[in-house]
């Protein structure tokens, strides 16, 4: 994980994430999108969580917003142990401390733009008149004063995103989390939204944006890369010797090497959510495995264990591409063999 630090953080609420791990059952398999993640950020910062699909950005945002309880680890925001909140305290945190901008806007289709912005205030117990006034002020701030009575179906993608941002801000939260705020938008709309997002990060408010678009890092105060880049790693192939039963890597690990079996036999298996395991395949001399994780910057989707004493060669993605210049098709033909 790479963290780029930006300008010195101001006083006010700070964010501290320590040893955060999230595991869950996905279709019967155990998935671990976050493992011992740690970073911190200061008040007023625009923090960008960068990574491809499946790397855990949305999972992390869910934890920051108090919508998902991690398997282990801690999140501390402004002195509040978010991961320790339960029941009414958790509800209060969601209503008053954090504002959420969802991917695909997630506006309530039956409510007008103003109605959508009013919802967080009404849930927080703010009176109808005051809630309406604050909603209208925010819609004006995001440039939608003339669209307050339009339903989401009558708004463009950019306008819907502005309504979503207004909804996230209406109760003046000190933490705003935004999931892929520029998705589904054309480049003109993207510019407007990014300008707005940049303006949001001021003293008294931290903004955390999850995105796979690395252009957004140009406006960030702090960038948290959730996946290392293996594609550029460059080192000589490394030989690995395993005794029978030795684990080469485990499901969920981050690895940068693609392995080819020289001698012996490797079992590739998946760990199930109930603790059992399911053998996917066995690979022998001349065959390779473990290529997709390093190629796609994803965690290992399965575990690898030596069936017999084995010798393997580990290649970086660059070296692996040299072996198969015509891509994975050639490699698959080798494995089929």
């Amino acid at each position: 994980m790479t963290v780029l630090t930006g300008p010195a953080a101001d006083t006010g609420a700070t964010l501290d994430v320590r040893d955060l791990t999230v595991e869950f059952n996905s279709g019967g398999y155990l998935v671990r999108p976050l493992e011992r993640l740690g970073f911190n950020a200061g008040d007023g910062e625009l923090v960008v969580l960068l990574g491809p699909s499946g790397c855990g950005k949305t999972t992390l945002l869910s934890c920051l917003a108090g919508l998902l309880t991690p398997t282990s680890g801690h999140i501390d925001f402004g002195g509040v142990d978010v991961t320790g909140l339960r029941g009414s305290d958790l509800g209060a945190y969601r209503r008053s401390t954090v504002g959420v901008v969802f991917q695909a806007f997630n506006l309530i289709p039956s409510l007008s733009a103003r109605g959508n912005v009013v919802v967080p205030l009404r849930l927080a117990g703010v009176g109808r008149t005051e809630a309406r006034q604050r909603a209208e002020a925010l819609l004006e701030r995001v440039g939608l004063e003339g669209r307050a009575h339009h339903r989401p179906g009558q708004l463009s993608g950019g306008q819907q995103q502005r309504v979503a941002i207004a909804r996230a801000l209406v109760h003046d939260p000190p933490l705003v989390v935004a999931d892929e705020p520029t998705a589904h938008l054309d480049y003109i709309q993207v510019e407007g939204i990014l300008r707005l997002v940049r303006q949001l990060a001021t003293a008294g408010r931290m903004v955390v944006v999850a995105t796979h678009d690395d252009r957004v890092t140009n406006i960030a105060d702090r960038v948290v890369e959730l996946t290392p880049h293996f594609a550029d790693a460059d080192r000589a192939p490394v030989e690995v010797r395993l005794a029978e039963g030795d684990m080469l890597f485990e499901q969920g690990d981050r690895g940068d090497l693609v392995y080819q079996v020289t001698e012996g036999q490797m079992e590739i298996f998946r760990v199930l959510a109930d603790g059992g395991h399911e053998t996917l395949t066995e690979v022998g001399p001349g065959q390779y495995f473990g290529e997709l994780g390093p190629l796609l910057n994803l965690p290992r989707s399965a575990s690898a264990r030596a069936r017999r004493p084995s010798v393997l060669v580990g290649y970086t993605v660059r070296e692996f591409r040299k072996l198969f210049p015509h891509g994975l098709v050639a490699a698959d033909e080798l494995n089929a063999g």
């Binding site: 949305t58 969601r94 289709p109 109605g115 849930l123």
Partner: protein
């Protein structure tokens, strides 16, 4: 959440309107059924009360049922009339089912033979009372005009008067004719009757006979129909169940469509209870509006029923309460959808 609930109702107006129409029709049918069941009782009460008697002296084996054809000699009328507890008495021959020919075709009628101008003779709402042989006063359910002819085989009668709400056995109209004419056409002219109508209460009655108050005759006659009435009431309960199923189906579909909305609202801080309350409110509103529609629809549908329908006022008053219960029960089907919504799903 009230604003969210009302906005959702408006947003899905067409969907809810269809459910309201369906549920309203079912509620309306249930009201009709309660009217049918009540109609049996009202019909009997009105027709029996219409004879104007305090006491009906009838054969003991009749159990006091007005339509029980258990006859006894007409001469027993004198004994009842001379009883010190009675101020007036008159004979009644009630034949529960005869086939009549009218200008409208063939109809089944109840034949009531009474003494002209005496206790038990009907007071028409149009035309005039029975004044002599060959005349008939009929219930307007028969849909015949004054001065038309009603015939029982070769016995023909001129309709001289019309009455209303005089029927028995679920809408079978009563035809009143002079006693002698009734005896001639129904029992071969024999001087027999099925009841002695009396004003007052006789101190003694001839052997084999029993005095029944009007209320006893009404209750016993209604009891005769207890089977059909119970069946109708059971069907009425089924109608409430069908109504609940319709509303539940609507709520379930709405809950499925609003899954993401629930997740978003929870992410914004709404409680599961508030979300369920929103669905509960929608269900109750749909059921209440349907009940209002039903009260109108039932009145529109009543004329198409050939049997007497008398929807009790209590049914109208309790229908909204039943609607609330139906809506509340129906909303339970969506309970899991509302309370089980995962706020983290708002991110997906």
């Amino acid at each position: 959440m009230l604003a969210v609930t009302l906005a959702d109702l408006l947003y899905r107006a067409r969907q809810f309107l269809i459910a309201i129409l369906g549920t309203g029709l079912v509620f309306g049918l249930a009201l009709l059924l309660s009217g049918l069941a009540n109609g049996f009782t009202v019909e009997i009460n009105q027709t029996v009360a219409g004879f104007g008697a305090d006491t009906f002296v009838m054969a003991g084996s009749s159990a006091g049922r007005i339509t029980a054809f258990v006859a006894f000699p007409q001469s027993e009328v004198l004994a009842v009339r001379h009883d010190p507890g009675v101020s007036d008495a008159a004979p009644l021959l009630l034949v529960p089912s005869l086939v009549a020919q009218t200008t409208k075709g063939t109809s089944t009628v109840v034949l009531a033979g009474v003494r002209e101008g005496a206790l038990g003779a009907p007071s028409p709402i149009s035309g005039h009372a029975l004044a002599g042989p060959g005349q008939a006063v009929v219930d307007d359910r028969l849909h015949v005009a004054l001065n038309s002819v009603i015939a029982f085989g070769h016995h023909a009668f001129t309709v001289v008067g019309l009455v209303s709400d005089r029927s028995l056995l679920g809408g079978v109209p009563v035809v009143y004719v002079p006693l002698a004419d009734a005896q001639a056409l129904a029992v071969g002219g024999r001087p027999i009757v099925t009841a002695v109508l009396a004003t007052g209460r006789p101190t003694t009655v001839p052997p084999g006979l029993r005095p029944y108050t009007t209320e006893e005759v009404q209750a016993s006659s209604v009891q005769q129909l207890s089977g059909p009435i119970k069946s109708i009431k059971n069907t009425q309960w089924l109608m409430w169940v069908v109504a609940a199923v319709i509303v539940a189906a609507l709520l379930y579909v709405a809950a499925l469509e609003r899954r993401r909305d629930f997740a978003v609202l929870k992410a914004l801080g709404s409680s599961s209870a508030a979300l369920f309350g929103s669905l509960l409110l929608e269900a109750v509103i749909v059921a209440l509006v349907a009940s209002a529609f039903a009260e109108v629809a039932s009145n529109l549908l009543t004329p198409i029923m050939s049997q007497p329908v008398d929807i009790p006022g209590l049914a109208y008053a309790t229908l909204p309460l039943i609607a609330v219960v139906v809506g509340a029960l129906a909303s339970l089907v969506a309970l899991r959808r509302a309370t089980g919504a995962d706020p983290a799903a708002a991110f997906s």
